[in-house]
């Protein structure tokens, strides 16, 4: 009897909450013995579209690369354009950008924590997380007027200033999360079933995380001290003294499992709250944009020549944008984006191996992928040639049944 009995494709239409992606899992009974990943279903040709637009127009395109980390993408893009055109951003604008980046990190991490609870069948924690997340969405809406794509960054600064009213709202939010978020954290970490579902599941060792270039919270959960806010500070982070959050500093050891990834993200929410407070306390006076007139900015960018880089720490890991501007051409000559999920998805096959099929949704979610949507699987029994379609619902039920089995009677 061969060790490999089933091959289970997840996707290609894997249409649930995030981007579609395909993965094939080789199964021995319920155990996963091998895995392959094929991305690419969501390719919209954004980099090509950028060649037909000027940098100010591309801001709104870059914002729509990902709706969850939209501000991270435009900050990386703007830093690349500013680097290419040698534009200096005023200090106040840098602080405001850091503030919005941290607000975005808070909402992204809370959303992830909620979805992780949902995929193990802990629905009440999911609803609690979503309720808490609305508070940061309110703050973002107060400041920018939008909930998801904020449209607040522009070349050489930001478009809106932090008024005393916004300052009050952000400080209220920080106080709210310091009081309330611990409830969510306790519920999940103290719950024996949640802990049993997440401990030693989807393990990515320290060596594997480095070898496969894992980024952001995925790498930090494996014990790798990497955080661009610490190692290569950008915007205002040089003044803010950010340390990478790694589990060995808090619980003694880093196992690199789903629980550690949960822990890192939850601790980073607290870290973001501290950073936001420091930003508000140290907010310098001055302009928020180096040149108010968009026409003047565009004529300056048209004269610019050169390649610019912008690399920042997005909620999921390093996000890099590289832009080339040619003198006399208003549009981008070329533009390259490297988002963190692609790098993290490479480590999926390692995380899958040795786990149950029922853990697959949790492991897929654990790197916080921009993956989504209805999940359809085709189970092929190589022995009998039987085929069976597994929907996302069945998969989710499998995951939930596993939780139920673990619960004490």
């Amino acid at each position: 009897m061969s060790a490999k009995t089933y091959t289970v494709p997840i996707g290609p239409v894997h249409v649930g909450l995030k981007e579609p992606i395909t993965a094939w899992l080789d199964l021995d009974g319920e155990r996963i013995v091998g895995a392959r990943v094929r991305p690419g279903a969501i390719h919209r040709g954004i980099e090509r579209m950028g060649q037909e637009r000027n940098p100010i127009q591309v801001i709104y395109l870059a914002e729509r690369i990902c709706g969850i980390c939209s501000f991270s993408h435009i900050t990386a893009f703007l830093r690349a354009v500013e680097d290419a055109a040698q534009i200096r951003v005023p200090a106040r604008a840098q602080y405001i950008r850091s503030l919005v980046l941290e607000l975005e990190r808070v909402h992204s991490h809370i959303l992830w924590a909620g979805v992780a609870c949902y995929s193990i069948g802990f629905d009440s924690a999911f609803q609690l997380g979503m309720l808490m997340r609305e508070r940061v969405m309110d703050v973002l809406e107060t400041y920018t007027g939008n909930r998801v794509n904020y449209g607040v960054g522009t070349v050489g600064g930001v478009r809106w200033d932090i008024t005393p009213e916004v300052d009050t709202v952000v400080r209220d939010m920080i106080r709210y999360y310091r009081n309330e978020f611990s409830a969510f954290y306790d519920i999940v970490t103290q719950d024996p079933v949640a802990k049993a579902r997440m401990r030693n599941v989807g393990v990515l060792s320290y060596e594997d995380a480095i070898r496969h270039c894992a980024l952001g919270p995925t790498a930090r959960a494996s014990g790798v001290r990497c955080d661009l806010r610490w190692s290569a500070p950008y915007e205002a982070y040089g003044d803010l003294d950010v340390k990478p959050v790694v589990p060995q500093d808090y619980v003694g050891e880093a196992r690199g499992d789903v629980f550690d990834r949960f822990l890192v993200r939850v601790l980073e929410v607290y870290q973001s709250l501290d950073i936001m407070e420091k930003v508000l306390d140290g907010l310098p006076e001055g302009d928020i944009v180096f040149e108010k007139s968009v026409v003047k900015v565009l004529s300056l960018l048209k004269k610019a020549e050169g390649t610019g880089w912008g690399i920042i720490e997005a909620p999921r890991g390093d996000d890099s944008h590289v832009v080339h501007l040619t003198s006399g051409n208003e549009n981008l000559t070329w533009w390259k984006v490297r988002a963190p999920t692609y790098a993290n998805a490479v480590s999926w096959p390692i995380m899958f191996i040795g786990n149950d099929l029922a853990d697959a949704p949790l492991i897929i979610n654990s790197i916080d992928p921009c993956i989504s949507c209805m999940e359809r699987m085709l189970v092929t029994d190589a022995g009998s040639g039987n085929e069976q379609i597994l929907t996302r619902e069945q998969l989710l039920n499998m995951s939930r049944e596993k939780t139920r089995r673990m619960m004490p009677a």
Binding site: A41, R44, I68
Partner: protein, 155 residues
């Protein structure tokens, strides 16, 4: 009976299937926010389902990439009649910022018939709720048509 009457006492709880055909996730997280406690559309019995065969409503987000066109069609065909298609977001309605991309087959109404458009990039949860209310009316009028057609066939 006027169709608007159906909004006072819902004749049926809508079950919704979402299909992300290449969106940026912005609309998808707003759909999740719509089912979360603040907006709580589940109080009307509406929920997201994992299989198109259980669904009454197909919610499509995103501007339909070439790869997803065939998958979208297959999902659409699996939903039993009467069914309503709701497009959430500007890019599914018109292409929006993704106009003139080489890899898009959309907007959605070039591929499957669309009943309700919800505009916004992304739309607010309130707008999505309004779109669902329109979908209820649309579904009831379609159901009436189907019943009429069945009666005529019998006579």
């Amino acid at each position: 009976m006027k169709l608007e009457k159906y909004l006072e006492i819902l004749p049926k709880s809508l079950w919704v299937m979402t299909c992300n055909s290449g969106s940026c996730n912005g609309c998808d997280i707003e759909i999740v926010a719509t089912i979360s406690p603040r907006y709580d559309i589940e109080r009307f019995g509406m929920k997201l389902v994992g299989s198109p065969r259980h669904a009454d409503v197909l919610v499509v987000t995103g501007p339909v990439t070439k790869y997803m066109k065939d998958r979208l069609l297959r999902i659409y065909r699996q939903i039993p009649d009467p069914k309503v298609v709701v497009v959430v977001g500007n890019c599914g309605s018109s292409g929006d910022v993704f106009y003139r991309s080489y890899n898009l087959e959309g907007p959605v109404d070039r591929i499957i018939p669309v009943d309700v458009y919800v505009h916004g990039c992304p739309p607010r949860p309130e707008a999505i709720t309004e779109g669902v209310a329109k979908a209820v009316l649309k579904l009831e009028s379609k159901r009436k048509e189907l019943i009429e057609a069945a009666r005529e066939a019998v006579v």
